[in-house]
C-alpha cells in the first residue's frame, strides 16, 4: 500500500514559520495505483510501506550478495557506490530498473551478473527502497541511548542549583518517574513538561496558564487562559464559563501565571550536562 508519510512537525515549522497539525493516514481500503511512488494529489513525499517478511528476505539476499561491494547498509563500500543515493534506485518503482542492473551486471565497472528470480529482485528492491525511506523520513528517526548523565550530580542539581524542589518532590509528584517514562521522554519532560512547544494553553490543567483579569469596575475574574492577543483575552472561569474581554493597552489589567515559568527560566541557565544529569537522576526513581 501507499503510505502517506507524516513529516516531522518541526520540519514543517522550519519551512513555513507557522505551526500546524498534519494528516497522516492513507484512506482505508484504497488500492494504490500500481507503479507510483509519488502519486498525484500533491501530498508530498510518499514512500511505500513493505511488510517485515519482505524486508527481512531482502536484507538477507542483499547481505549475502551485495554488501561486500556496496556496504552492509547499502551506503557504499570498497568498490561499489552508495545505493541509497543511486538514481537507478530512486527512479525505480518495483524493481524494474534495479532488476536490469542486477541481472545484467555492469561489466564496465566490474559488477558481475546475478541470476536472481523475480521474487529476489523484488525483495532486494524493497530493502533498498526502505533504506531510502528511512533516510528521508525524519519523523521516523529513532533516538539512540541518551543516558550519559551522572545521577549523583543530577541529584545535587535537583536539590540545589536547579531549584526543582520548590515545586517537585521525588517521593511525591515525581515518584517512580523512572519507571513511567523512557529516558528520552523523561528528558523532554524535564526540559519542557508542557507539550506543543510550551504553548500557554494545555490539555493538562495543572500545566495551564491561569489568568487574573481586573476590570475597570474593580471586578476580578480568574480562570484558565484560553487565548490572548493585543486586542482581546479569553478565559474559562471557575464555573466553566467562557469569558472574553477586549484589551486596550493596560485596560483591563491582565496578570498571567504560568506554571512553566521556572522551566522556561532554566532554559537559559542549563548546561547540557545539567540536563543529562537530571535525566540520569530521575531515571533512578523506579
Amino acid at each position: 500500500m501507499i503510505h502517506f508519510v507524516k513529516p516531522c512537525r518541526v520540519a514543517l515549522v522550519l519551512l513555513s514559520g507557522i505551526g500546524f497539525q498534519m494528516m497522516a493516514q492513507a484512506p482505508p481500503g484504497q488500492t494504490p495505483p500500481a507503479p507510483a511512488r509519488h502519486v498525484g494529489g500533491g501530498l508530498g513525499s510518499e514512500y511505500k510501506a513493505y511488510d517485515a517478511a519482505t524486508l527481512e528476505r531482502g536484507k538477507k539476499t542483499y547481505t549475502a550478495n551485495c554488501a561486500f561491494c556496496h556496504g552492509g547498509n547499502a551506503k557504499g563500500g570498497e568498490s561499489g557506490p552508495d545505493l541509497l543515493r543511486s538514481l537507478t534506485v530512486l527512479h525505480d518503482e518495483n524493481g524494474e530498473m534495479i532488476g536490469k542492473v542486477v541481472l545484467n551486471g555492469r561489466p564496465d565497472k566490474g559488477m558481475p551478473k546475478f541470476g536472481f528470480g523475480p521474487e529476489q529482485i523484488a525483495d532486494i528492491s524493497a530493502f533498498l527502497h526502505d533504506g531510502v525511506r528511512a533516510a528521508a523520513e525524519r519523523g521516523t528517526y529513532k533516538i539512540l541511548d541518551i543516558m550519559v548523565g551522572d545521577a549523583k550530580a543530577g541529584q545535587a542539581y535537583f536539590n540545589g542549583a536547579g531549584g526543582c524542589t520548590s515545586c517537585h518532590s521525588v517521593t511525591g509528584d515525581l515518584a517512580h518517574a523512572g519507571s513511567k517514562y523512557e529516558p528520552v521522554d523523561l528528558q523532554q519532560k524535564i526540559v519542557m513538561p508542557r507539550e506543543g512547544r510550551g504553548r500557554r494553553t494545555a490539555s493538562d490543567k495543572a500545566m495551564a496558564v491561569t489568568v487574573t483579569v481586573t476590570l475597570p469596575s474593580g471586578e476580578v475574574v480568574n480562570g484558565i487562559l484560553n487565548r490572548m492577543d493585543d486586542f482581546a483575552i479569553s478565559l474559562v472561569d471557575q464555573n466553566g464559563d467562557y469569558r472574553s474581554f477586549s484589551r486596550d493597552g493596560d485596560v483591563p489589567k491582565v496578570e498571567l501565571h504560568d506554571p512553566m515559568n521556572a522551566h522556561t527560566a532554566l532554559l537559559k541557565r542549563y548546561t547540557d550536562a545539567d540536563i543529562h544529569n537530571l535525566t540520569a537522576y530521575l531515571e533512578t526513581l523506579k
Binding site: G41, L87, D230, D272
Partner: protein, 549 residues
Amino acid sequence: MKIAPAALAVCMTAWPALLTAQALDPALLLKQPTNAWPTYNGDYSGRRFSTLDQINQANIKNLNLAWIYHAVPGETPGAKVGGEGEPTKPGESAGNPFGVSIKATPLMVNGVLYLTTPDNTWAVDARTGAELWHYFWRTRGGIHIGNRGVGMYGNWLYFETPDNYVVSLDAKTGKERWHKEIADVKQEYFSTSSPIVVGNHVIVGTGGDSLDVPGFLESLDPETGDMQWKWWSEPLKKGDPGSESWPDENSMRHGGGMTWIPGTYDPELKLYYVGTGNPNPVMAGQSRHGDDLYTCSIVALDIDTGKLKWYFQTSPHDTHDWDAAQTPVLLDGVIDGKPRKLLAQANRNGYFFLLDRETGKNLVSYPFLETMNWSKGVDATGRPIPNIAKEPQVSGVLVSPPSGGATNWPPPSFDPETGLFYVGTSASYSVFYLTDTDPHPEGYGAAERASGGLGNTLRAIDYKTGKTVWRHDLPGGGTAGLLTTAGHLLFAGDGSQHLVAFDPSNGKILWHAGLGSNVANGPETYMLDGKQYLVVGAGDNLYAFTLAQ
C-alpha cells in the same frame, strides 16, 4: 550567457511592439513603482518599503475592507490544467495536507493581481477581487508546503511547482506556453521559490533536504525556458574554489545549499544576491568536516554569467538547519561618514549582518536574539564561530534558536525614513539528538524536540549596529511578512489572526483588523485610480483594504 550591449538595445527597442495593456513594462522593474507590484519584493531591493502615503497615520482609522478573494485550488471547473502528473480522481482532493495558505506575494501589474499556492496560479482583478482565470498543475509529487509567487516578463508569467517544473503562462489568459523540469522530484527536490525576472533572465531556485542533493540557481531564457547559466551552491570537484572546505567530492556533491527564496538585485552593480540553504546531511556533520562552502552563505552572482563575485558565510559547517534563506535587503546608508551600498540580513541563526554589497566585506555581526547560545562570538571577518559542543549529540543538546530559526523566510522590511530594519523573530529552544552516527549519515541524521522559549517578537533593528531599538512581544503567534510605507506605517500579522498597523518609530499599535486566519505572506500596497490599496494574504483568502470614502 553574456548579452552584448547592442543586443540589449535591440531588445529594449523591440519592447513597445510587444507591450499590450496587460504586459509588464520592464522599465518598471528598475524603479520603485507605486502603481504596480511587479516583482516578489515590490522592487529589486527587498526593502518592502512603499513611497505611497495616501493611507497614513492620520487616517488609518478609516482603513476599511474593499474586497475579499477566496482562492479555491485544485482541478476546479473552468481551470486551465497542465502538468505531468495523474489527473485528480473524482472525490480526491487536489488541495494539500498543509492546508491552503497564500504565502505568495501577488504581483500587481496593470490592474491585475497574479498569485499562487502550490500547483495553482490565479489572475484576479486588483480593483474588485474578481477571478479572471485559474491555472492548475497536475503534480508528480514533492512537498507542497508553500509557493512564493510568480515572476513576469512582458506578457509572460513564470512559476515553480513542488515537482520542480518552471511553468510559463500567458498573463492574459492563463494558457500555458511551456514547462521545463529543473530538478528531479525523485531525489526529493521540491521548489517553492518565486522566479525573479531581471532583464532577459528568469532566475529560479529550488529546495529539498531529505536526500542530500546539491543546490543551484538557474537563469532561464524568458521566451524558450532554455538555460542561460547555472550556479551550483557547492564546488563540483576537488580543486575548485571552495572545495578546500569539504573533505571529498562525494560530500560536496551531496552537500545541500538550496535556493529556497527569491533574491535581490542591484542594477548598477549587476549583482544578484541570494542566501543559500544549509549543508546536507542536515544535522549530522561527520561526513562533511570543514566550512561546507557555499552553504549558509549570502552570495553575490553576476546576473549575466552566474559567476560568484563574493560570498559571506553566515553559519560555517551548520548542523542546525539554519539556512541563510532570509531576504538579503539592499539599502544605501552612511557608515563612518561615507555613503555605502549595503546589504542587511536578519539571519535564521540569530545574527544580524550588515555587509558592503560591492565587496561582501562584513561591517556588522550582532546577535539580535537574546537566547542564542550556539556561537562563541565572531572572527575577524565577522563570521560567527560555532561552539562545536552545541552540534547535535546522541544524548541531546539544548540549542537556541531551534531549526525553525530566530526568523525564517517571511520577508522583513527596511524603512529608509526611520533607518530601521523590521523583522519578526522567535526566541525558542530545541533539544537536538544525533540519530545517525554512521560515518556517512544520510538525510537529516538527527531528531529535534521543541522545548519552549520566550515567545515571538516584532522588532526594529538599527542597521548600523544590529541592536534592537524597539520590540513588541506578541502574546500569540509570530509575524509573517512585513511592509513599511511613507504613510509612517508598518504592517504586520500578529500571529493571532490580525493584520496590524504599527508606528514604525516606536511600535505603537495604530490599527488592526481580524482576518480569521494568520497573515501568511508579505503585505503589499499599490495605487489604482487614485486609490491606495493594501493587500494581504491570510489562509486561503486575499484581503484588500482602502480608505473609506
